[in-house]
Amino acid sequence: MSEQIEDGEPMLRVENLQKRFRVDDGIVNAITNRLRGDDPSYVHAVDGVSFDLQKGETLGLAGESGCGKTTTGMTLTKLYEPSGGSIRYEGRDITDLEGEDLQAFRRNVQMIFQDPFESLNPKRTIFDTLVEPLKIHDIGNQQKRVARALEFAGLTPPEQFFDQFPHELSGGQRQRVAIARALVLDPDFIVADEPVSMLDVSLRAGVLQLLERMNKEYNLSVVYISHDLSLLRHMCDKLAIMYLGRIVEYGRTEEIIESPKHPYTKALVNAVPVPDPTIKRTRVELAGEVGDAIEVPTGCRFKDRCDEHLGDVCDQVSPPLERKADITGDRLVGCHLFESAEGFDPEAELVKSRSGDGSPVAAESDD
């Protein structure tokens, strides 16, 4: 990003983050591929993602399955090592942290997962589960802290849950335990990957309220990962719409939902059903399906499904995520339909690529 959306040093700054996975097919294939001189193939799950996260801010990562939102989340929590780009936490690059520095970072970041039935070790009591992070970081007053966290998560009286096993709890209670575990270290930010999508409808709201309280009362930053825009609209200050490993639109939630600009965002927002029979929405039919993350298309990744496709520019020049002159508000959009406010000229890039070595332009959104 060329400039910050808001003033002040962001707590977390992600720049051009990339994560690719090698398509691994065993030692024998690796040898035969090597012999034939083939390059190993990669899945480009996250391919140049940039955003800022302020203290106390909530950001929603939205998109269809396979768009790289979960991989982004897992890279943020250092479950995956990034393949490129940087993650800066409080001004410090954490991509290559090791040893004690890494442990210090780990104290401040936690993750909440989707499946309440899989997120707790079935062989350990609730107390064991909650006390583990404290033991790892050698933090005192363990029992009181655990009790405090459980209480905050609405599991009262906490002592009653200490010796219970996950199978004795309901789905909603388990997800609350998972939240308590995330909170027990008192982190600065949390990545929540579809935190309620597997809960029963009537229990969802309770867990969402808990997450809201966590953010509001303790000034925690949260990255929500979800395909459910209704939910993200409810929970998030900012929204990043992802498509095939990239952010295509980024800005304030209500602005994006009220007036989506990127053709993909439009389709996504309009596809959300509304629980009110009197409201009729305009549906945008989107052709085709999400493309291949192994052989990423040149130019705009959305070009094949786009109604407003402009021709060669879209085919050849990858649109950077940038401010647009014809879009007001704090909004970044990655689409050639709008005029750049940052001086990026796709036509010129197209000419350059033709006169040059003929390879397609890989424009990056950062300076």
């Binding site: 969402l208 309220q209 395909h227 596809a271």
Partner: protein
């Protein structure tokens, strides 16, 4: 006459701890050409209901009472072969996850043709022609009919399932969570496709879902189920506009609405009851902010208000204070907390 009448249906599952009364006295009907949504949380018996109609209950489940009348004939009473004749020809299904609903070792064409040949006599060419038409109808490339299911994406498989469901132009289609496994965009397209096709062949549909918004957009009438029983039933517009059952109100409030970002989300306190020994009286009693002693001791009566059927003791009270407060999450919490203390 109604196309499908379910009359006081009871379905039990035998378990080590006694029978689970998954469906316990459910009645409703579907008229020709009508779309009926069955809404409820997991475990409320909505899938069991569909399985009972289709005759594909788990081996420990059985119809313990009541009737399912299709075109006036009780299908629970039919012989296996009579029933088989009816299946797919008259009643077909779109299952929850097309991921596993197609046999992985046969091509999609083979599986559709198999359904056709089970009920109609025609030449291979005619059957192929039918498959081609069906594929075009659901927006799939007919050239890909000879692919195996795993070669299709999730959305394509669900389309193939719809093609198969329509193969014999049934008069009733049972769709069990037809889109939950899909992404938003695909979900939208599939729902749109289903509605359009169904209008074309004028079949009725029963859509089972936990997603209130899906029902709001596709159904004429809604049955709200709770813990194996009908809580409320009526036209979709009325159900969404002025429901009388507190559970319906709670369910609506639990869903975030993309158009109403500032609305509080309602969380209904507590959990649905165990269905091995369900509470006497109203099953919603432990979670209901309006519950009284009556609710605990006697079954809620069927009350008809406007065009709704509501099973509740307090339909008269709901208009007074609670409806206006139902969207407020604290209203639920406080009232139920107060009940806890009383007990």
């Amino acid at each position: 006459m109604s196309l499908l009448e379910v009359d006081d249906l009871r379905v039990h599952y035998e378990t080590g701890e006694g029978p689970v009364k998954a469906v316990d006295g459910v009645s409703f009907s579907i008229d020709p050409g009508e779309n009926v949504g069955i809404v409820g949380e997991s475990g409320c018996g909505k899938t069991t209901l569909a399985d009972a109609i289709l005759g594909i209950l788990e081996e420990n489940g059985s119809v313990a009472g009541g009737e399912i009348r299709f075109d006036g004939q009780d299908i629970t009473d039919m012989s296996a072969s009579e029933r088989r004749r009816l299946m797919w020809n008259e009643i077909s299904m779109i299952p929850q996850s097309a991921m596993n609903a197609l046999d992985p070792v046969y091509t999609v064409r083979d599986q559709i043709v198999e359904a056709i040949f089970a009920h109609e006599t025609m030449s291979n060419n005619e059957a192929d022609e039918r498959v081609r038409d069906l594929f075009e109808l659901v927006g799939l490339d007919p050239e890909r009919a000879d692919d195996y299911p795993h070669q299709f994406s999730g959305g394509m498989r669900q389309r193939a399932m719809i093609a198969m469901a329509l193969a014999l132009e049934p008069s009733l289609i049972l769709a069990d969570e037809p889109t939950t496994a899909l992404d938003v965009i695909m979900q939208d397209q599939i729902l749109k496709r289903i509605s359009a096709l169904q209008d074309e062949i004028n079949s009725s549909m029963m859509i089972i879902t936990h997603d209130v918004s899906v029902v709001a957009e596709t159904c004429d009438r809604v049955v709200v189920m709770y813990a194996g029983k009908v809580a409320e039933e009526g036209p979709a517009d009325t159900i969404f506009d002025r429901p009388y059952h507190p559970y319906t109100l709670g369910l609506q409030g639990a869903f975030p609405n993309i158009r109403k970002p500032d609305q509080d989300l309602v969380s209904i306190p507590g959990h649905p009851p165990e269905l091995i020994e369900p509470p006497t009286g109203c099953r919603f009693v432990d979670r209901c902010p309006l519950a009284t002693e009556d609710c605990r001791t006697s079954e809620p009566p069927e009350v008809r208000t406007d065009d709704l059927r509501t099973f509740c003791h307090h339909t008269d009270k709901i208009d007074g204070g609670f409806r206006s407060r139902a969207g407020d999450r604290d209203a639920w919490k406080e009232t139920v907390a107060a009940m806890e203390i009383q007990r």
